[in-house]
């Protein structure tokens, strides 16, 4: 997964889903019941 030009996570889908990188978490779980507030843009 790329976030703002940087490699934020890499691996199998399960490894990426388990990443602790907050941007990865936000990207993957946006809209789920546990997601935090969205960014302004």
């Amino acid at each position: 997964m790329i976030y703002k030009g940087e490699l934020a996570a890499a691996g199998t889908p399960d490894q990426v889903k388990a990443s602790l990188d907050p941007h990865v978490q936000e990207f993957i779980y946006a809209g789920s019941s546990e997601s935090g507030d969205p960014p302004p843009e």
Partner: protein, 494 residues
């Protein structure tokens, strides 16, 4: 909350909450002899959100355009604010459209006007309101939509999500009673989809709007819909709450829902630190990027990326709009050079290749673009043969045999004699893939292959990628702004 007054029609009272604002009775529509809608009956309740969903080509957008008289029915009746839109003149329909605006899928912003004047446009064109008064309303809306900094920016400087919000602001600034949304989240990444969903709900409450939304994003629909209608084959085959649709016994609805992602992902327990980003899974890399930076003027778009693409695996590159994922892939296929760092493909440093060597390297990489990009004036057979004819100068039986073989493996042999306009969306994707695979590439790159597709089509495209990877024994790179779905069985994402 005080009732809002339509700024374009200040003397008109709002439609009563206890009466349906839009009613369709026995509606039919055909284009060039092809029936698009058949005996459609639908009631839109005032103050509620009605979502229309269904497969691509089922007539959703035509139905939406009928609701405010942009398209008229061939049969049946469409009543908007109690008036039969077929029995009134265009002038009256224009009046009704001031109470029922639309947010178009492609935003329809005016490129020569900045954000503020795009939003203000309906008021500046149709009222005598003073500029400062209008701009106060624009600022309030930009605040609500969390875009205050975009006031004087041009549409060309905005991301897709920002354009959606500007289009939404323009649709509601006049205080309409109904807003029609055509695919409001298509093309957005998951973070932005969630955000736009929230803004639609916030705007609905604040501006007291009845919404009709055409969308096949079922995770969004679950959040937004008071009522849902499922279109299939031009007719509404199911209507009710999201839960009712989920448990429908109608086969077409069950098929649609079986392929739909109805919830965003749930978090998994635990997790690991994102320390080791370079994956060593024992598979030799077919491509490597090592500390790659790329600048475009003052913009630092790639910031020291180091990653590998393993041979004969499916690698999905995900990221939000503007994250740099497409730029990264353009480096791997040799369309861009890094500002610094190394890109190696098939073991060769691309910076050290001659023009001819680079051409030979690119010839080993196939691309499938979003729209399949077929030549409409050529038959399917000619489209598939094109790279061999034009790129390699091959002719005769050898080419025809290659076309037949690849068409057979991708299940498009039956349509070889047809024109692209005469085949389905799914077939277009397969024909585009056949055209890329006929040159026997070692790497196949898919650029956002499922963007804008309905759930059934998404599943088919996912399956097509997996099948092609196995059947042609190739390395696959998929650029996406969504996490891989389980059906796609990707081997890794990065």
């Amino acid at each position: 909350m005080a009732q809002r007054t339509n700024l374009l029609l200040p003397g008109v009272e709002r439609w009563p909450a206890d009466q349906p604002v839009i009613e369709l009775v026995g509606v039919g529509k055909a284009y060039a002899g092809r029936e698009i809608l058949r005996d459609v009956n639908l009631t839109v309740q005032t103050g509620k959100t009605t979502v229309i969903s269904g497969e691509s080509g089922s007539g959703k957008s035509v139905l939406l355009r009928m609701m405010n008289g942009l398209t008229l029915p061939d049969a049946g009746t469409v009543r908007l604010f109690g008036e039969d839109i077929s029995k009134i003149g265009e002038r009256r329909r224009t009046e009704l459209r001031k109470r029922c605006t639309m947010v178009f899928q492609n935003y329809a912003l005016i490129d020569s006007l900045n954000v503020a004047h795009n939003i203000a446009f309906p008021l500046l064109q149709n009222t005598r309101m003073k500029l400062p008064e209008v701009m106060k309303l624009v600022r309030d809306l930009l605040e609500l939509l969390e875009l205050p900094h975009a006031f004087d920016r041009m549409p060309s400087d905005l991301s897709g999500g920002m354009k959606k919000r500007v289009a939404l602001a323009r649709a509601v600034i006049t205080n309409p009673e109904v807003v029609l949304f055509d695919e409001p989240t298509t093309g957005l990444d998951p973070v932005m989809i969630h955000f736009v969903d929230q803004l639609i709900q916030r705007t609905q409450r604040e501006y007291q709007i009845t919404s009709v939304i055409v969308s096949h994003d079922m995770a969004s629909n679950r959040n937004l819909a008071d009522h849902m209608a499922i279109l299939s084959g031009g007719s509404i085959v199911e209507f009710g709450s999201f839960e009712h649709i989920q448990h429908s016994r109608v086969p077409a609805v069950q098929r649609f829902m079986a392929n739909a992602v109805t919830e965003r992902m749930s978090r998994v327990e635990g997790g690991e630190a994102a320390g080791s980003l370079v994956v060593d899974d024992g598979v030799p890399p077919v491509a490597e990027v090592i500390d790659v930076h790329r600048h475009f003027g003052p913009n630092h778009v790639l910031k020291g990326i180091t990653a590998t693409i393993p041979e004969k695996k499916i690698t999905v590159v995900i990221g939000g709009s503007g994250s740099g994922k497409s730029v990264l892939i353009k480096h791997i296929i040799g369309l861009m050079s890094p500002s610094s760092g190394v890109v190696k493909v098939f073991g060769q440093d691309l910076a050290k290749l001659s023009g001819r060597e680079m051409q030979a390297t690119r010839a080993r990489i196939g691309m499938l673009f979003q729209g399949a990009a077929l030549f409409d004036s050529m038959t399917v057979r000619e489209n598939i043969a094109f790279p061999l004819y034009e790129g390699r100068g091959q002719r005769g039986r050898q080419v025809q045999e290659a076309v037949e073989e690849v068409a057979e493996r991708l299940k498009v042999k039956d349509v070889l004699g047809r024109m692209p306009s005469g085949i389905s969306n799914g077939e277009r994707k397969r024909v585009g893939l056949a055209r890329a695979l006929i040159t026997k590439p070692d790497i196949m790159v898919y650029d956002e292959p499922t963007t804008g597709q309905d759930p059934i089509m998404m599943r088919r495209v996912d399956d097509m990628i997996v099948e092609a990877a196995a059947a042609f024994d190739i390395t696959s790179i998929v650029i996406s702004h969504d996490m891989p779905r389980p059906s796609a069985s990707p081997t890794r994402s990065s």
